[in-house]
Symmetry: C2
Subunit: 109 residues, 2 copies
Amino acid sequence: MVESNISSDLIRGHIDTIILKLLGDGDKYGYEITRIIHSKTNGEFELKEATMYSGLKRLEHEGSILSYWGDETQGGRRRYYSITKKGRQLFDKNKKNWELTKKIIEKLI
Amino acid sequence: MVESNISSDLIRGHIDTIILKLLGDGDKYGYEITRIIHSKTNGEFELKEATMYSGLKRLEHEGSILSYWGDETQGGRRRYYSITKKGRQLFDKNKKNWELTKKIIEKLI
DNA sequence: AAAATTACCTTGACAGACATAGTATTTTTT
DNA sequence: AAAAAATACTATGTCTGTCAAGGTAATTTT
């Protein structure tokens, strides 16, 4: 269980993009997002709950995603998130930004 | 003059590493560091002065660099910075961290 | 002489990540 | 059946790095 050494400074600014990417493949609820990320990275990166929820709130606020309560008649309530057109555009923009930033960092370190 | 669109969130956590890298090649004074970075990136990234000086102060505080006044008898004073052994170790660590983080981000976006 | 550049420094604001704490339900373990 | 762990959500407040804005002073260019 190697559990994450990823500095939060290095991940900063990528959280929203990571969430948007996941939602691009279909609606998900919050807790599910953390689980997927955990397994996708073989436990190397753990998205903290507080971090995720603040990202979700931010994204919803600006209209990049929207949310709705699942209709689980049994079991705990789940709030699902769905990406909007604006969200897809933001993702594209962020991804390009990442590519550019990556090149620059690579040039400098 | 394309001047920087690099989001400060994406660069966060890399400033110190960038500075250490430059000092690894020889002592430099503050203003010089900004100029080198500017030209190395063809103007795509501009290290803000306040950001740089706070990085320098942080690094000096923790013993990763040290500083001394240049002996310019004529002309303006210059404070030179020099990397320490600890600084070189920190650079190596940061660089590894970057490689790891890069892989993880790439996996997720 | 005025303007621009070189070179340094400080202060305070801001925003994102996260620790911590809390609620409530369901599932697993003892 | 009771206790513990996992699922699932939310709110509050702290910390830290980046940067805008401001300042000083000398030198060089216009």
